[in-house]
Amino acid sequence: MSESTETRAPRSRVAIAPIKAGRPDPQGSDGNRADASAPTAAPTVDPSPVEPRVRFNRTSSAGSATFIGAAGASLGLVWVVYERVLPLSGVLGFWITWYVLFLALYLVMARLQWDRLEARNRLRAVALGTGGVLVVFIVIDQVAYTLVKGSAAVTHLNFWTKSMAFAGPDSPMTVGGVLHAIVGSVEQLGLATLVSVPLGITAALFLAEIGGGLARVVRTIVEAMTALPDLVAGLFVYVTLILSLGVGKSGVCAAIAIGVTMMPIIARASEVVLRIVPGALREASYALGSSQWRTVWNVVLPTARSGLATAVVLAMARGIGETAPVLLVAGYTKEMNADPFSGPQTSLPLFIYNAVHILGTPAYVERGFGAGFVLVVVVLALFTIARRVGGSAPGELSKRQRRKLAREAAEI
């Protein structure tokens, strides 16, 4: 572990809580009792022979009740004030008001039970947790919204089996479909993966296994390219292949553009995973006389396998949704084009872009949401695969592994 090299003393200031009588219980779920017994207990030794283990993540019924009570009370109050008293509108405003009121009520309720420090500590925990709740809510909302709005289009069989070749701007849902876009997406993503995975993982190996001055430069560039605007990747392919070399707009151009955006993602995520591979494993392999590439092939890559798979599949999930690069270089067609090497080829995101932003008729918007449905399902599937194949996050042990470690530690 890296802690072994950590020899510096902590230089941080530490907030010292007024904890009485050597009871290291910052949660202080029994704050009142500790306060009462503090003056007498201070000089005596704790009578219990075994010090109870301090657990930080303990939830008490009082804590939960406070949380739920504050949430419910503020909801009711906001409903009355916001809907009845103040002439306001907007769902967002409602929830923002609710949240502010909730925090205030929570602080008041916590203050009734616990001392100032403890109440503030709990308030902070709740406020920080809101971030997590909000993120979960937004993700669920986006996915559900797209799925619900898209379900009108995807229930028609022709949506899956036809292209838009014979459909006009206002054709009903029973005419035309997005098969051409699905085919285009699959082919472009496949080509992009073929290009970017070997390059990305090799670059990551270079960063993690060789290092040195050049690697530092490459790492800086890779990290900068991770956040490279995807539009710029499109512009790059547009400028080099289409304007300079005269290649027509086609699926392969889009694939290269997608590959350019996927490569740094793979490289960066893989490097992180490769770094987590314990140095002791490498040294053990060297000590057994392996060469470097044998060590990488037989020790480093298998150890990092789950993380690498996750990196690749997540990059694929990013790649299939890339719109901006495809927009510039793939061209747009209503017709089926299974050959990525010639002629314009539509992909799912490009179809949505054209349907909603360029055409914008109600029928097209509905189909756009249908394509969004497909896209979200594919991304969710890829994501689930990444989790399944990848198993646990690198360095994180499963419950059973942790128990086993604890058992072994106990035996020693």
């Binding site: 802690e3 200031r13 769902v91 500590n121 919204y145 490459v218 490279l228 512009l235 510039l328």
Partner: protein
């Protein structure tokens, strides 16, 4: 992994044994292997260099035509006039990115702290998965969601902000006060972009926070710190550079976001205004996406010049971010191979 052996006591004699320098001569296969790896690294550099070189080459004519006015002229009609520039487009992009960061940094960091410090073990992995999923959701889905779900629901809040916080220049509203004139504003685009930035900030900050040394955490607890006291004095100082770096990476992403911005903004004029609640406004990315098919070669060259500015801006921001991260204490831990 570098193992540094430090003498146990500071009073050791100066002539202690120094570690012998280990010289490893790579075998033939290793030399090929290292060559391949190095080649991959060089390809990455080459791609970046090619992007820069080709964008400069292709946009040179446009930059020559408008001269320094490219940075000072707000209007952008490169086909009909030699006076065109990004003096309105770039500030608009920057304003959208700033809105996004103002929203995303607090939420992202709070979520990261919650996941790494507070969340029960059962919740931790699902939460990380949700954050990763949020990063994986295509920007076009964000765009659909922002345009059809968020926009109708946020207009009331926008109006309230304009009425009650209008004294703040950013919330000032100069147009006719109908709900329709709030449609397509930079504020809404900024909110949608912030949602794309949140997962970046959260996942990087979380990784940095989780590296905070266990010994120092326990030391803080042992001194009687509360949980928040520990976070404030150990985790946050340890992860400060990580937060800065993550925010800057988020800034790069926000500057370069195309589709959601293009969907939501309704460009009216080329005039930069900080009144972010008003409909209108533009951005470099939206300009490129909207006009690349309509322009002739002169116009495309001008758009490429915009792309070049965008690329250079994000490259600088992102490189700076990664330098900040790697110079930091938390970054230095991962640096040591």
């Amino acid at each position: 992994m570098a193992v540094v052996l430090t003498p146990d006591s500071p009073h050791t004699l100066p002539d202690v044994d120094t570690p012998r320098a280990i010289v490893a001569r790579p075998s033939g296969s290793d030399r090929i292997f290292r060559g391949i790896l190095r080649g991959a690294g060089l390809v990455v550099l080459l791609i970046t260099a090619l992007i820069l070189v080709f964008l400069i080459l292709r946009s040179f004519s446009a930059l020559q035509r408008s001269g320094f006015g490219f940075f000072t002229t707000p209007s952008f009609f490169p086909e009909t006039s030699n006076q065109f520039g990004i003096a309105a487009l770039l500030p608009d992009s920057a304003l959208i990115a700033a809105i996004a960061l103002v929203i995303a940094v607090p939420i992202g960091v709070a979520t990261a702290i919650y996941i790494s410090e507070y969340a029960p073990h059962v919740l931790r992995r699902p939460l990380i998965a949700v954050i990763d999923l949020m990063a994986a959701i295509p920007s076009i889905v964000y765009a659909l969601w922002g345009l059809f779900f968020l926009m109708p629901r946020i207009l009331g809040t926008d109006q309230w902000l304009a009425h009650h916080l209008g004294f703040i220049p950013f919330f000032h509203f100069t147009k006719a006060d109908t709900i329709g004139s709030y449609v397509g504003a930079m504020f809404i685009a900024g909110i949608v972009v912030s949602l794309m930035v949140i997962p970046i900030i959260t996942s990087i900050s979380r990784q940095v926070f989780s590296q905070a040394p266990q010994g120092e955490r326990e030391a803080a607890y042992a001194l009687g710190s509360t949980r928040w006291g520990m976070i404030r004095t150990v985790v946050l100082p340890f992860g400060r550079a990580g937060i800065i770096g993550a925010s800057m990476l988020g800034l790069g992403r926000a500057l370069g976001e195309t589709i959601a911005v293009t969907f939501i903004l309704t460009p009216l004029t080329y005039a930069f205004s900080i009144h972010m609640l008003e409909g209108g406004g533009n951005s470099i990315t939206a300009e490129i996406a909207n006009f690349y098919t309509q322009y002739d070669s002169k116009g495309v060259a001008a758009l490429l010049a915009c792309g070049l500015v965008l690329f250079v801006a994000t490259l600088i921001v992102n490189s700076f971010a990664s330098i900040v991260v790697s110079r930091s204490r938390s970054g230095a831990l991962t640096e040591a191979v």
